[in-house]
Symmetry: D2
Subunit: 354 residues, 4 copies
């Protein structure tokens, strides 16, 4: 029997991606869509300026958009809310007993909130037991769209060698800014060397995600690692797919071959491998000369596979490589859905009694 | 009285840029255009598939394209030759007594060839006196299109602090690949994380350019510096303007403010400041939030000004910033013309006796 | 039991699309790939510069590329050959007994060759019975990539009203020019108002496709219709999807509503509706304000649905509208595969005896 | 002695273009900039999000932005106001005695307002004498950005042959939508086949512009011509330059050669030819295969020359061709400035007494 889900911020770019990716999901059915006052009361068909390249699912098109208040008829909510409102609204839902699977940044660094990538740190799920919002409600978050690709690539390097420092320069897709987002006169044939708040996220989130959990259950905690990360973020005229040029300093100064070997050896934990949205390959090493590329490679694993290419030695650090990940699937709605699947498989999601 | 100049590789993308930039030049007049056998014998109008955004100069359109053999009626040559032929052809011209002002890579690292940016290392001109091609012939080169912007920005940092290490990730314009160059299906809405041979140039050329000259005249020499540079080069869908995200480790660990101050203090040497193609500002520090950008800022100083933005501290090194330079003007034809102007002002170019 | 197929011109852009679309086809299996001398003898993996956004099918990657000579081990061939060689090679295969399903232009206007869109003129298949290449060999073609969308939209207008004149201006995708095709410096932020030979095809092919068949079997013939078509073709920086602004003069001067009604009434003939590659909707009328758009709508029906939007009256003619079709699927490889499916369903394709 | 000018809507995209084009103008000096309440009271430097590719003129940067009320210290105003407010504000300025040179659509079709292209219908200036706003105040407008290119090309055809019908499909640049304008996710690798209100302007404005003036001075009037125009307008990912594919039916059914001859014979009236912003060539016929193109040709005549290419016969009408014009220079601010120059040369602009 499927769980009923609600989408907070359902008419926005991330909300629409949730609607599309959850169509035909084996475990979840959308029964509620919520957005701002401007949309509330309209059918989803009328309220949403649909920008996905496939047709709006009929089953959602007819739903009436409701306000983002914890009276939605569903067992859990996915939050694609803007950070200007997500902080408060998500807490209200958790307090009212709803599991909140959020893509917003507001609670990512809360001590008791998992900042979760199922293949990387599934043990962080325990943190929800420290949360005291209500008996059944809690908040789980996924990382920033640019954090997730790099962090997946860093995971085996941290495990095998230990990371000492990271330099990363990103070339991020326009869809990462939502809709209408970047003005076309700023985008076409141009690069904008600044994305507000982005560099800070890239420099802090990986340290929390890659940190081991201490204790367990209600006593669990996560102390962020402390290696320095320097991030320089750019917007480029690409539609989907964040590219990242990464250079890493590693304990023991391994060779590029050893680094590539470590990257290739990464495997998805068993409990995650069987989840509906888990890609066959979480981290794919591509040895073509000029790979990965957004247009050609972003759709690997239905947008859930992270591609790494050009692994080679670095004259300044130990190794460098290029990472590509799908920013609105792996880096947003798809990542959140995989989070929900992990929680469901652990029995943390249940039918709400009405 | 103007000097007569010939253009080698005149029908190519760099050659066309020479033709356009030299229209109405106060010191130089194009009297000869040379290209491959396929073009030789045709008028320049018919031989060149003109891609510049202004009209082909009438005075050049009517010239007959000649073979790249040292029988051209001119006092010096600019070389926009492809590297597959530049090595040999340029030597032949130098041996025949022609000063060769080259944009090709072939002789850039020759011990006795200046790799010249007039504002940065004008003293390297002395190296031509070591050349033994002929009494009047010699070769002078300008750096790779991606090297030049970063190196100009590094110059005051080397002078004020001393550079210990550099990380750079480039986002390079399509025009850097010539014409037809990059296929549109590889360019539109895409990033290609590889440019053949480019990273090596960025990692070596600055070390030679920034090195002090030892000795003088026929006894001069240049020993490249030895700090490590790590370059990661990408092609992005921009038409003109190479963007570079640079992170630098400096002696004495200066603050970002000190670094910015050093960048702002850079001034063009007097002997260069008055040259016709020297921009009023060689290195401009832009303190807007999201600057520089190719579309808005690449034309500063008629394409000869290098823009630096977002100067800030770096969690891994000492400071980081973004550099923008015009790849086909400052980074190619315009740079070569400024080189020629410096040589002319020193009396190293003269009317050839016929 | 599946039929074995060979791909002529397998390493090119259209050839690759055949390879991708035929992966997992229920009726056809690729057993042979052929290309020019440069590729022959190599594995397909090594010979093809793969540009499709999904991975090269493993079963084809290992095939050895052969010359385009009629010794391929297969029951029929799909031709993605360049028109410079397609004329002769396709005849040679037909003469050797192979059915040739061609995307090339060379034989499209031959009196005895069907220029086929299965939903539009399936009765033209009879023309193959007039061909005398060999007992089992024949040639069937699909239209030019820009012809097919407009012609599908014109079909119900011809049937319901009768067409008197057509004005069409196209905005065609870069992929229509193959690979490397259009240079990025001609494509980015630009429009090229000329595509060699294209306007002529748009002005003639629809007249043949829409014409009724006279006679049947070996006595069948098709006399092109004679209404005038004026086509103006442009290349725009779009990756997939040809857009066409069409204005039509119709017998009886119907209203825009009547024209829209006619467009909506179009249905796929029963014998075609069940074919594996036939889309559920061949011609979709979209009544959104600003539809169709290449990025959002080109993938409808897996690239086989033609979208029409903005049906409205015309101050000069009777009605005007916008057509979008996928140029490399419906307009090339996908159209050819649907042609083959129609032929197979009629029993015109068979296992070759060896 | 220069006239002092004010810019209404000075912070917007059109306003910025006025500011840039008027820098160093021989007849006009900007002494006042006005915008909405949000900007009023700030310096222009702080109020304007400057998007022009050259530096903001220092002399304007320091001006204080004022409200759009007729208390500006200047002799005339240029209006780059949004149409939501232009109607009322422009009338108020005219009533207060200011000549208003407007780029807004609001008064273009007013019986007593010239819809002016100086090279085409300078005699329409007389209409200002019918205006009764005040003794010295009046309104003059320039056409829509897509109208102007086509109309300049139609002028010689109307004069030589007489126009019977026009079909036009436009491919319009992103800058035509202002800033932020079109969302990048709607622009990159896409075509939007709809621009609100645009088709109507293209179908009506040329009829008024090309009409002869009847009577003169205060008795003058203009009755629009009546040939039908069918316009289909599209937004394409181009930065500057509207392309238009035009097909014309002409009296006497001239050949394409005759049409080309007529286009080439067009000359700028003497009284206009000497104005500072008048290009040397108003209408340039380009006979290259694939011309004109926005990236290569839009800057001809500093953006004031209209280019026509591919003149050829039309199977449906008599002739067809492609028109390119710069939409924000010739089609907006540049056109308005040329209008003001014509008015000044006729003595219709004067120093206001204070």
């Amino acid at each position: 029997m499927k769980l009923n889900v609600g989408i907070l911020g359902a008419t926005g770019a991330v909300g629409q991606k949730f609607v599309r990716l959850l169509e035909n999901h084996p475990w979840f059915t959308i029964t509620a869509v919520a957005a701002s006052e401007r949309s509330a009361g309209k059918s989803y068909r009328d309220a949403a300026h649909w920008i996905e390249p496939t047709r709006m699912p009929e089953s959602v098109a007819g739903l009436e958009v409701q306000l983002c208040e914890p009276r939605l008829d569903c067992d859990l909510v996915f939050s694609g809310l803007d950070s200007s409102v997500a902080g408060t609204v998500e807490k209200a839902f958790a307090a009212a007993g709803y599991p909140v699977i959020s893509n917003a940044k507001n609670h990512r660094m809360d001590d008791d909130v998992p900042l979760l990538i199922p293949e990387i740190n599934p043990e962080h799920v325990d943190l929800v037991q420290r949360q005291t919002y209500s008996e059944t409600g809690f908040i789980v978050t996924n990382p920033n769209c640019a954090t997730v690709g790099m962090t997946i690539a860093l995971k085996p390097l941290q495990d095998v060698f230990g990371i000492e420092a990271v330099h990363v320069t990103t070339m991020q897709a326009l869809s990462g800014a939502g809709y209408p987002g970047v003005a076309s006169l700023d985008a076409v044939a141009n690069v904008v060397p600044y994305i507000g708040g982005e560099e800070d996220k890239l420099e802090t989130e990986p340290l929390r995600i890659l940190a081991p959990r201490q204790g367990e259950g209600a006593s669990s905690s996560v102390t962020p690692l402390s290696f320095p990360v320097s991030a320089q973020c750019n917007r480029v005229p690409v539609i989907e797919g964040h590219m990242e040029c990464v250079s890493v300093k590693l304990a023991g100064s391994p060779t590029a071959d050893q680094v590539e070997q470590a990257l290739r050896s990464f495997t998805t934990p068993d409990e995650v491998a069987g989840l509906p949205s888990a890609p066959e390959t979480c981290l794919m090493v591509d040895d073509a000369d000029a790979a990965p590329q957004p247009r050609r490679d972003v759709h690997r694993g239905a947008g859930m596979t992270v591609s790494v290419g050009r692994v080679r030695s670095c004259p300044v650090f130990d190794a460098r490589f290029v990472v590509l990940s799908h920013n609105t699937i792996r880096g947003a709605a798809g990542g959140a859905i995989l989070n929900a699947e992990l929680l469901a498989s652990r029995g943390l999601l249940a039918r709400r009694k009405v």
